[in-house]
Amino acid sequence: MQYLLLLYSQEAQWGKMTPAQQQEGAAAYQAFGEALTKAGVMKGSNRLRPISDATTVRVADGKSQVLDGPYVDSKEQLGGYYLIDVADLDAALSWAARCPGASHGTVEVRPIWSMA
């Protein structure tokens, strides 16, 4: 089954880290990505630009509304994702627990809606 791991954390924390800490953090994510690839479960992954770069669009009554900012203004922000293909939820949860994002934020595990 495919699962999307959604990484939520306080993105402002990143700016407060020293360059050495940032480098260490980035290396941890890179290692996690490599482990996923080695295990043959990685389907895709990206880091997202901060919410200050986000724009939301909604169409109501045929008119589109465009707003600056994210959909929800929450304490922790969506900062990236991994798409993985594993046997079951337990396997997905164990990968989520290894993700560095689970240590400094929260990882939401969502099964992909199968279109088959």
Binding site: M1, D88, D90, P111
Partner: protein, 423 residues
């Protein structure tokens, strides 16, 4: 299992079907759903199979292997449903999986995957409050109405939550698997917790006058037996069964013939089920020999100590306080602190016990917990604070749901010297 109108000569078919349902329902659901993870479809197919059995068996006679018969019919129903429901290439895959199961089912021995089913029902990804109801439905075949009444909720709401939980198992890909050694202990906790929740819900009608609730304690005992039988090397599984057997053994003694409530200290040990107590004791010894103490073993040991004291008349309160100390260190629950305080009263007196009572300001739920106020009242009586005791009884009476316990508390309150003087 649904009720089906009986045909002539259906009595035996019906009792065989009932017996199979009782013994094998969970086994059949587990086997049907293990690979598709579709519990609801398995239950639907199985209920149709039981209905078919009640139609066929009176005519054809009961099959030699009723379990295999039901499984074969249920599988055909499931395949029919799948054919009608899904299109495209996935059909081939699904049918392949089902057909494999059909071959396996033709063997007389159906593999027992109930343990895996229990672990799926009590998976941490399932909302904690629905795990016990889910087990009762999926493993034992209880209907939503029966479960709802035990858990004091509406059948419609319970039904919805059960459907949602089953959807989650299927859609989120919760596996039917007994966890690996290293994670077994943590995962087993949630299974045992759910079984115990089913049992204590059954106890909320302590009089046993409500048949549905009384049955629920029996069903919970069945699950505890199952867990202990399937995990004989897990001391906490044995401990939970021992704890439940101890509580169950004293059921009859908790009531007088006229239904009035009898507290433990005033019960007649001759009314206790000595066979159940012996089984509980033997389980505790087996668990103890495994050298890994836990919550349920400690609670079982406390039951055992109470039973021993009442039977022999030998006070063992110091040991009881020590067991409560250990239990409190492990679970830190205010209810444990409350019982610990009552044991302290027997060793160091009521004043010390009052000082050891859990603080109501740290846990708001205590303020609505009848035993907290009843215990407080008892202790206040012993310290001579009659007016305060009277007030504490008043609150306890107001919080109690069971009329027999309410009358018991009212009698205690009326016995206070202060009320006798006509205040």
């Amino acid at each position: 299992v649904s009720e089906v109108p009986l045909q002539e000569g259906g009595e035996q078919a019906r009792s065989t079907a009932d017996a199979v349902a009782r013994r094998s329902y969970g086994k059949l659901v587990a086997f049907l759903a293990a690979r598709t993870r579709d519990v609801a479809a398995a239950e639907d197919a199985l209920s149709e199979a039981f209905a078919a059995a009640l139609g066929r068996w009176p005519v054809d006679g009961c099959p030699a292997n009723p379990e295999a018969w039901l499984l074969t019919v249920a599988r055909r129903k499931a395949i029919d449903v799948a054919r009608g429901k899904i299109r495209g290439e996935i059909v081939a895959g699904q049918l392949q999986v089902m057909a494999e199961g059909l071959d396996a089912a033709s063997d007389a021995e159906i593999p027992d995957q109930r343990l895996a089913l229990l672990f799926a029902c009590a998976h941490p990804a399932i909302e904690a409050g629905i795990r016990a109801p889910l087990m009762l439905q999926v493993v034992l075949g209880l209907d939503a109405k029966t479960i709802a009444s035990a858990f004091l909720t509406s059948p419609a709401a319970m039904g919805k939550r059960l459907v949602r939980a089953k959807d989650k198992i299927r859609q989120a890909g919760i596996p039917f698997r007994v966890p690996e050694r290293e994670e077994l202990a943590a995962r087993l906790d949630t299974v045992l917790e759910a079984i115990y929740a089913a049992f204590t819900e059954g106890w909320t009608d302590p009089g046993g006058s409500d048949v549905v609730r009384r049955d629920l304690t029996e069903e919970a005992l069945f699950l505890a037996h199952l867990a202990a039988e399937l995990l004989p090397q897990e001391p906490e599984a044995l401990g939970l069964l021992a704890l439940m057997l101890h509580a169950e053994a004293r059921r009859r003694a908790r009531r007088q013939a006229d239904g009035e409530y009898v507290p433990l200290a005033e019960q007649d040990p001759a009314l206790w089920d000595s066979q159940m107590i012996a089984e509980a004791e033997s389980l505790l010894r087996r668990a103890g020999a495994m050298g890994s103490i836990g919550r349920y073993q400690l609670e079982g040991a406390l039951q055992s100590a109470h039973v021993d004291r009442c039977r022999t008349g030998r006070a063992n309160w110091t040991a009881v306080v020590q067991l409560y100390d250990a239990l409190f260190a492990l679970v830190g629950s205010p209810v444990v602190a409350l019982n610990r305080a009552l044991a302290i009263a027997e060793v160091d007196g009521a004043a010390a016990a009052l000082a050891a009572m859990p603080d109501i300001s740290t846990d708001a739920r205590l303020a609505e917990y009848q035993p907290y106020w009843a215990a407080r009242a008892e202790l206040l009586v012993k310290t001579g604070a009659q007016a305060e005791a009277h007030r504490a009884y008043e609150i306890a009476i107001g919080l109690e749901r069971d009329p027999a316990v309410r009358r018991f508390l009212q009698r205690r309150q009326a016995a206070l010297p202060f009320t006798r003087e006509g205040f």
